[in-house]
Symmetry: C2
């Protein structure tokens, strides 16, 4: 038994991760009152039955299968033709130049891209700045690669004009030797967008200290009315060799089942990511890669409709949560996440999410997955059947009523 390895794995536990709820120990949970009936809703991820994949994706997959060996066995960084196709579309989207040969890799999901990018940049002992709160895997990746996570606060409840990143703390982090800054934009779990000024300052600070930046832009196409999105990779102030951008079609486009993501930026790091991919899983599924042709090539009006339907769900759920008077929250600006803060309860956040599941058939992700201090918040992904999501929010409110101090 290697105790150091055992300790490392104890820090990357997946018991509370989205989708793993079925493996939780629920022996200690005692419910107050009866079950609250209603259609079960799993808010831990989007419902691809309510919001289906881009039309035609399965047909493109089938075409890929019929291409045969050439599609099954691509280069580790992905099929050359598909890299060209997608790099061009992402160059347009981000307003940058992406060379499909040097600066682009196709990965098994954005999770795959994150893992490869972190494994290519983090050496043991390296300090990595991580936003609090941010995507739960970010800190686990730092742990796995034996780095040291340095938290930078996001004061998302204190402002509405920017994401609320503490830039002074970020500069202190760089000044104290942080080599790499990893963050999601829009932020997961809060759904806030970094303002143009915040992105400009992040780029300038990184350049000043020679730090690297990985930005996870998974939800950057689903921008709600009145909001603008700024691409870090399009800032001229930062050395492009110090930036990796990650995207993928798993969320808004509902293609998670195909396990597709991409990373673009630094040629040196893309090269390392490919070497690492060669020993991690060889390549993103060959036939699946073909599906990327449908990405950024959706039918006319499809994306607009999808965004407005999500905005309508957002508005309804937020109205209900606010009307209850129990929650503090900030309106989602992009993506499908909401991160409500709950009042003091008689039970812990870990017990609360188990109670929600057992008593109200509602699955949410505890705030502690996004930073150990978020013991009073939970995340939902509201990409769900609209009526079912409303019913589930009503049940959450009832459970909070029942268990609050």
């Amino acid at each position: 038994m290697n105790y150091l390895l055992e300790e490392k794995f104890s820090k990357i536990g997946a018991e509370h991760a989205p989708g793993q709820e079925g493996r939780q120990n629920i022996d200690e949970i005692q419910l107050r009152g009866e079950k609250i009936e209603g259609k079960p809703v799993d808010f831990s991820h989007g419902d691809v039955d309510a919001f289906e994949p881009i039309p035609g994706t399965l047909d493109i997959f089938i075409e890929g299968v019929h291409v045969g060996g050439k599609q099954a066995y691509t280069e580790y960084r992905g099929s050359e033709a598909i890299r060209k196709n997608v790099a061009k579309k992402l160059s347009n989207f981000t307003g940058t130049t992406i060379d499909p040969e040097q600066n682009f890799i196709i990965t098994p999901g954005t999770q795959g891209a994150l893992f490869l990018a972190m494994g290519s940049w983090v050496y043991r002992g390296d300090k990595v700045a991580i936003v609090a709160p941010d995507y739960f895997a970010n800190r686990k990746l730092v742990e796995f690669f034996d780095g040291e996570a340095v938290p930078v606060q996001l004061d998302y409840l204190q402002t509405t004009t920017c994401a609320g990143l503490d830039l002074t703390q970020l500069e202190e982090a760089f000044n104290s030797g942080v080599k790499l800054f990893l963050f999601s934009n829009p932020n997961n779990p809060t759904g806030v967008i970094y303002s143009p000024d915040e992105i400009r300052e992040i780029a300038e600070l990184a350049e000043k200290y020679g730090a690297k930046v990985i930005v996870d832009q998974l939800y950057s196409r689903q921008i709600f009315e009145g909001r603008t999105y700024t691409h870090l990779c399009a800032q001229n102030t930062i050395d492009p060799e110090n930036v990796i951008t990650i995207m993928g079609p798993s969320k808004t486009e509902s293609l998670s089942g195909y396990r597709l993501g991409v990373a673009f930026g630094s040629a040196n790091i893309i090269g390392r990511m490919e070497k690492l991919q060669a020993i991690v899983s060889l390549r993103a599924g060959g036939y699946s890669q073909a599906v990327l042709k449908s990405w950024f090539a959706e039918p006319e009006g499809w994306m607009t409709k999808r965004i407005s339907e999500h905005q309508a769900i957002r508005d309804n759920l937020i109205d209900k949560l606010r009307a209850s008077g129990y929650f503090q929250l900030r309106t989602t600006e992009a993506g499908s996440y909401l991160f409500p803060r709950i009042p003091k309860l008689d039970v812990s956040i870990s017990q609360f999410v188990k109670i929600l599941r057992l008593q109200a058939a509602v699955t949410v992700t505890p705030g502690t997955e996004f930073g150990s201090q978020f013991t009073d918040s939970f995340r939902i992904n509201f990409s769900q059947d609209h009526a079912a999501a409303e019913g589930a929010i009503e049940r959450i409110i009832k459970v909070v009523e029942e268990y609050r101090k």
Copy 2:
């Protein structure tokens, strides 16, 4: 620039890895004589156009897509229903009991299983015994996890009654502090099978020294006439918590394009592998997982026919290679690999494989990918169109004639 990280990545280079040949620098290559015409053959992997996937797999994939969200978002260790389905079939195949809940994980290819298993067992500084020659990723995985590879010789050319593992060297390795033994059976690249005695002795030695074993059985269904296969996991002498077995349908079954593998064994390590999968790529592609239903459920006679077709190709290619008088080789006993030793040439092995590609349109993998000392061998995967493979072997012989000392 982190020079230690740069050095690590220099050791896991993928330039000569199968399928990456298009990225090689060929500026320094000078050809003797004309191009040798013939149908191009890529022996770096099997040709899934010549040997197609198990019939019906695409239909099962499409059914998986139609299942929707439940199939797209499985537990990280894979869909419960499919784990049950496959664990049962593999219990029958191996003659062991595999609990689908505790001892089984579905991974993105067997490469994914190897990475997760190694990442779950290797801590920095750990000594890991690696067979020479063996699958090229094995040593790279030890490098990536900061372990120390301890080679154990396979004298595959000196015997025909067993694989030829130097068991004395293996015991010395365990005695010197090696914690883990990783090997492929049948051996990649030589295609030899470990004898019942060898497997028994490996199990006994591992148990004696408390060492762990990972056995990669990727090609263990494609056993040629007159050969028997022994499953290490079925040896009663070794603590089952110290064994992980890896398999998958990418080779004989031609399902590589779906990126599917499995690992089974130690509940503790399967648990760690799932935690690691959560940050590496979340899960094997959800819809792809469904395809595992076709595995070990092939149409009557399909597997027998596939094996006999491969045996016929093997026999033809070996006859030609032997008739030339240039090569030393051992007859493949299982799987589709051949690992001929070539005579002394005027060019290096690295130049030789580039010349083969440029002058004869034949792609092979240099022996050095399987151990730095194998500068006089190359690997081919003969799962190819039969006639094309024969033509390619004739061209290889001509190139050897041209360049030999």
